[in-house]
């Protein structure tokens, strides 16, 4: 059994150092204070997005009301890719500087990323049936998104299979970093290959090819999913911090604090 240990106490460092929040002892209360704000922002943005998307936006000329799946499909797909990049970023930081908190953040992001990947595939399938006539097709966009789901699941399974958390961090980080190549493949697949999936309605280089009210609903939902993801990942990170640092002084102090 490990004996109680005192980790480097960041609270002794100056509050104005940029590494002040790089330790679980200082990040834990910060994350706890931020979660309610992101949760409220997520609820408000999603409520506004649902109102605009389902109740206000008119029907589409070619896809009729089946197009309304776009309001959750695009946000979920964006989050699935974005969260993977953020996960790989923290995993790489953890691998390079051997920082515990960065590795814990990577582990905390994976399940939420996997959920949004599943939702992107699920809603895409329900959209594909009425518009393409098929639930699934092995085209580049759909196949690379499915690979993204397998990468998330592989990352979680690999970490779960290794008992030593620090070794699990390193093994997972290598997988996450190698897998990041899949993200630009997903993003550009509709340009690089002749896919059944339509091209981007919104891009950074040209004006959006959709009505303003539809764009508004889509962006509100995407922002809502983003805020939700931050709240969910911070909550999971807090549990991971407590579990993995359970024998440290700061966790003992947290436990003894009056609730």
């Amino acid at each position: 059994m490990q004996s109680p240990v005192t980790t480097t106490d960041a609270r002794e460092r100056t509050r104005y150092s940029w590494t002040y929040f790089a330790s679980p002892a200082t990040f834990y209360p910060l994350a706890g204070a931020m979660i309610p704000w992101f949760a409220v922002a997520a609820a408000l943005l999603c409520a506004a997005g649902l109102y605009v998307g389902l109740l206000v936006a008119p029907t589409d000329r070619t896809q009729f009301d089946s197009y309304r799946i776009i309001f959750i499909h695009v946000g979920a797909a964006w989050m699935s890719m974005f969260l993977y990049v953020v996960m790989a970023f923290w995993a790489a930081i953890g691998l390079a500087w051997n920082t515990r908190l960065a590795a814990m953040m990577a582990s905390a992001i994976a399940p939420t990323g996997a959920l949004f990947t599943f939702l992107a595939l699920w809603t895409g399938s329900l959209w594909g049936k009425p518009t393409w006539g098929t639930w699934w097709v092995w085209d580049a966009r759909l196949t690379s998104e499915l690979i993204l789901l397998f990468l998330y699941i592989g990352f979680m399974a690999l970490q779960a299979a290794i008992d030593d958390p620090r070794r699990a961090d390193r093994a997972g980080a290598v997988l996450a970093i190698v897998g990041v190549i899949n993200v630009p493949i997903i993003y550009f697949s509709v340009q690089w290959w002749n896919t059944l999936h339509q091209g981007s309605s919104v891009s950074m280089t040209k004006a959006p090819s959709m009505a303003a009210i539809m764009l508004l609903g889509m962006l509100l939902m995407a922002l809502g999913f983003w805020m939700y993801s931050i709240a969910a990942c911070l909550s999971r990170a807090r549990s991971i911090m407590l579990e993995r640092e359970r024998r440290t002084e700061w966790v003992l102090e947290e436990v003894r604090k009056p609730q």
Partner: protein, 61 residues
């Protein structure tokens, strides 16, 4: 850009122009997925705090 309601009736809203199955199948599964994740996060936090209470209640540091 106005914020007037598009639908003429509640039934029309539910029917989604005949695409109700696909639209509601997407929205309900998304809502369920997020709700399940939140429930799992709350349960995990409770379990972790109970584990810590046992650990630090039995052994005095």
């Amino acid at each position: 850009m106005t914020l007037n309601l598009y639908w003429s009736s509640f039934d029309a809203f539910v029917a989604m122009g005949g695409y109700g199955f696909y639209v509601w199948g997407s929205y309900l599964v998304t809502a369920a997925g997020l709700a399940i994740e939140v429930a799992l996060l709350v349960a995990r936090r409770r379990r972790t705090l109970q584990m810590l209470a046992r650990l630090h209640g039995s052994e005095r540091l």
